[in-house]
């Protein structure tokens, strides 16, 4: 298969949420001598960006968004080892989790999936994550960003504690918050650097934060 055809195929596999096809085409790309970086930049990234655009247009819904991210992830698993310098192409390192006392996982996992699909190295700590765990992992990974989700007004306060704890620990990681009750005003009030109310917005905010 010609390179252009492979790239178009990878892009379409992402849009079709087809994990096996994405992985197979990624292997074919490497077999034909295509650099992994080209497969990512020319195939997978345009695919996931198109998925984001379709989401913005109201054409794509959550299942398709995670499906596209899943297909991207499957192809990345094939391409990653072939990248020069190992996994050095990441946009930034992120620790993500739902705060302690809160077991809501779906929104947070969606954000984690999309961040990973968009080129961040993401460490998903799951739900009910104590502040100390966020701090420890941020230190271990030298994280650029810590993302904390809260679905309850009663657990939102944990986001404030997290911002303070990271600052007290002297870490450089910045904090992005989200979750149903969370507002931009709350984010500003607790000194969080970023806020997003959906997964697509979270990717854009994260990009902005690691650049600045």
């Amino acid at each position: 298969m010609a390179h252009e055809e492979l790239l178009a195929g990878l892009r379409q596999a992402v849009l079709d949420c087809d994990e096996p096809r994405a992985a197979r085409l990624a292997r074919e790309a490497l077999d034909t001598g295509m650099p992994a970086l080209r497969a990512i930049d020319g195939g997978l990234v345009p695919g996931i960006q198109e998925a984001g655009r379709l989401w913005d247009e109201g054409e794509f819904f959550l299942p398709e968004l995670v499906g596209a991210a899943g297909a991207m992830k499957a192809a990345m698993a094939v391409l990653q080892p072939a990248l020069a310098g190992g996994g050095s192409r990441e946009l930034g390192r992120i620790v993500i989790g739902t705060v302690q006392g809160d077991i809501h996982d779906i929104g947070k996992s969606l954000v984690a999936t999309l961040l990973a699909a968009n080129g961040f190295a993401v460490s998903d700590e799951g739900a009910d994550v104590p502040v100390e765990r966020f701090v420890t992992r941020a230190r271990e990974l030298d994280a650029d960003l810590v993302c904390a989700s809260a679905l309850l007004t009663t657990t939102m306060v944990q986001q404030r504690t997290l911002v303070e704890a990271l600052r007290a620990a002297g870490l450089r990681a910045r904090v992005m918050v989200g979750g149903a009750p969370v507002t931009p005003a709350w984010a500003a009030q607790i000194g969080a650097a970023g806020f997003a109310d959906n997964a697509v917005a979270a990717v854009a905010v994260a990009r902005g934060l690691v650049r600045s």
């Binding site: 899943g70 996982d105 779906i106 996992s109 999936t113």
Partner: protein
């Protein structure tokens, strides 16, 4: 896949049969009054007992008429694609007609509709995916009354693809309206084969057929254009106040219509429709949003189904004066009950204030009402036994079905995905959008649709043909030319 269709009924089978028996006895003994000469001649020739202008058909004559009326009518859009399948329990919506006013979204007050409003109504109807039929739902004030009925058909044809419910205002209207429709369809026989419009024919309660409406019935029967009976008993004024007796009167008037119609054109398509209303005993108004009105409508539909003819009702409308709680309540309950009753064609969307006022903003909101009602009657799709067990086994560790192929494969069929006027976003999103209310979000949606212009421009040569027919008609009526620009 088999599904249990959710259903509502207000009469048992025995009660339906008793209602029909009462209606038949009413016609045999009380009879119905006919103002139209040719119709009286038809009835007399068929052996119906006449007492002056009052006809007293026998049960056998009525049963015979019912036997020749088709149980199913397919109405096609302007392109010839099937759009309304009227029969069985199929449900379709079309805008309520025919309003004397249009609700102005800026002043939020009613005003007289113009030709431009008629065009915009067609454009917005095209943009409402849950509203399958169109309607000439406004009476334009900028054209002479003598031209109104045919002008509306011209406008509907120039600005929309969906088939239309319409009606005559004058006895001489039918011929021109039929000519316009036949021109688009490619001839009289093509139009008979693939109907493009439904004509409302309204008896006058109690038990009278005026010259005009009776003529419409005859014209429809002879040309094969579907006729829609719109019997409208007003409980406590032109009808007994009780729901059951309203259904009896509706049945009697409708049976008399079927009889005249089938005598004029055996086998011609006819719809068991209606616009009954209970009466508000303080204001003397006839609320379409009253729950008793809806009970009568459901009962009428049950009777029509029992007799084997397609059904129609004016439901899903409100008597509110604007887009408020009452508006949503009455429209929602009516549309849902109509759909659950399996009314084949439900006319109502957009209509306010006792069927006097159309609102484009309400139309786009009602589109969501219709979507919800149509989804409700789809019911619960039956999948294979044990599927839930398998799916839960696969996903229980992951904890979420969001990424599972099963979700991707089914969510678009299972979930009614609402349009922009239904707010399911976060408080923050709503606040950021300026905190829109129903008026604001509906108006924005209407503006979005209108900004795209005519969504269904007619082929240029056909357009010229229609304009030539209308120009000739204006000359016949002694008008100096077209009274308004039909392509505003």
């Amino acid at each position: 896949m088999s599904v249990l269709r959710p259903r509502v009924s207000v009469l048992t089978r025995e009660q339906i049969e008793a209602v029909v028996a009462d209606a038949v006895r009413t016609l045999e003994t009380v009879g119905f009054f006919v103002e139209n000469g040719p119709a009286l001649e038809l009835l007399g020739a068929a052996g119906v007992r006449l007492d002056g202008q009052r006809a007293h058909p026998s049960e056998g004559q009525l049963r015979h008429a019912l036997a020749t009326a088709p149980p199913r009518i397919v109405v096609y859009d302007r392109d010839g694609t099937p759009a309304l399948d009227l029969g069985g329990d199929a449900v379709h919506f079309d805008p309520g007609s025919a309003a004397l006013h249009v609700l102005d979204p800026v002043t939020r007050r009613r005003r007289s509709p113009t030709t431009r409003d008629l065009a915009h109504l067609a454009w917005v109807t095209e943009g409402c995916r849950h509203i399958a039929g169109g309607s000439t739902a406004l009476v334009p004030s900028d054209v002479p009354e003598a031209l109104g009925d045919r002008w509306r058909v011209l406008l509907a044809l120039l600005h929309g693809r969906k088939p239309m419910a319409t009606g005559t205002f004058q006895k001489d209207g039918f011929a021109v309206m039929h000519r316009l429709l036949a021109a688009v369809r490619g001839g009289d026989e093509a139009l008979r084969h693939k109907p493009l419009a439904i004509f409302d024919c309204c008896p006058t309660p109690p038990l009278k057929w005026s010259d005009l409406t009776c003529q419409a019935l005859l014209d429809c029967a002879r040309t094969g254009v579907p006729a829609e009976l719109v019997s409208m008993p007003l409980g406590g004024i032109t009808s007994p106040v009780t729901v059951r007796e309203m259904i009896v009167l509706h049945c009697a008037e409708s049976l008399s219509g079927v009889l005249i119609h089938q005598l004029a054109g055996p086998g011609s398509p006819i719809i068991w429709g209606g616009s009954p209303a209970s009466v508000d005993m303080r204001h003397g108004t006839t609320p379409m949003g009253a729950v008793e009105t809806m009970l009568v409508d459901v009962g009428n539909a049950q009777v029509g189904k029992h007799l084997g003819v397609p059904t129609h009702a004016y439901m899903g409308m409100s008597d509110a004066k604007g887009l408020d709680f009452q508006c949503g309540l009455e429209s929602g309950v009516g549309a849902l009950l109509g759909a659950l009753a399996g009314v084949n064609l439900i006319a109502g969307p957009g209509m306010l204030d006792f069927e006097t006022t159309q609102s484009l903003e309400k139309l786009v909101l009602d589109n969501e009402v219709c979507g919800m009602a149509l989804r409700a009657v789809q019911g619960v799709s039956e999948t294979s036994a044990g599927e839930a067990v398998d799916l839960l086994r696969q996903v229980v560790e992951v904890g979420s079905f969001l990424a599972h192929p099963h979700t991707r494969a089914h969510f678009r069929q299972e979930l009614l995905i609402p349009g922009r006027t239904i707010d399911r976003g976060s408080y923050g999103d709503w606040e950021a959008a300026g905190g829109p209310d129903a008026w604001a979000s509906a108006h924005a949606e209407v503006q979005r649709i209108l900004a795209r212009g005519n969504p269904a421009p007619l082929d240029e040569s056909l357009q010229a043909e229609l304009l030539a027919i209308m120009t000739a008609e204006c000359a016949r009526l002694g008008l100096p030319g077209l009274p308004a620009d039909p392509l505003p």
